[in-house]
Subunit: 72 residues, 2 copies
DNA sequence: TTTGATTATACCAGAAAGGGTATAAATTTG
DNA sequence: CAAATTTATACCCTTTCTGGTATAATCAAA
């Protein structure tokens, strides 16, 4: 699966020139967590997600859903 | 603690005239989860959070952190 | 205040996430 | 292509979240 949060982190991490391992260390989470997150795992824990987002001055918040429009 | 997600849900739920129990049922999560979320629990599971936000056409996404400015 | 409804807190059991490690696959570099 | 780095997948163990139930506290209405 592909999630907004996962894509966001993958992009920002690369822009920062970090490996998953380095990001994990900086964020204080396990390497496996970064992997799961970037790959779009849905059932992550919110506090861990926020630990990672915090490195980029972001946090998880409510955003309007895009019209996932099964375009005709 | 107070979180953006918790406050958002509490507000929207009340605007919709729903009890925590009704919201829990509609979202397909336990009542305890709604309580925890509205009270700002940090370590919720993201998929459950999204189940709830989905009822209001929202989802958890990366948002810029407000300058939590320890105002001088 | 009294009653009824809603919300908060505590305990238990089951399920699953997170971390670590090992290995495989993929990507990059020379 | 070969070597090295980075990323992906699988297994085990510990931790803890979630849901359910019960009870207390809070709030609203009469």
């Amino acid at each position: 699966m592909k999630t907004a949060l996962g894509e966001f982190i993958k992009l920002r991490r690369r822009q920062a020139g970090l490996t998953q391992e380095e990001l994990a260390y900086k964020a204080g989470v396990g390497l496996r967590f970064i992997r799961d997150m970037e790959q779009g795992k849905e059932s992550l824990r919110l506090d861990k997600v926020n630990q990672v987002l915090g490195l980029f001055n972001h946090e998880a918040g409510p955003v309007l859903k895009i019209n996932t429009g099964h375009e005709s």
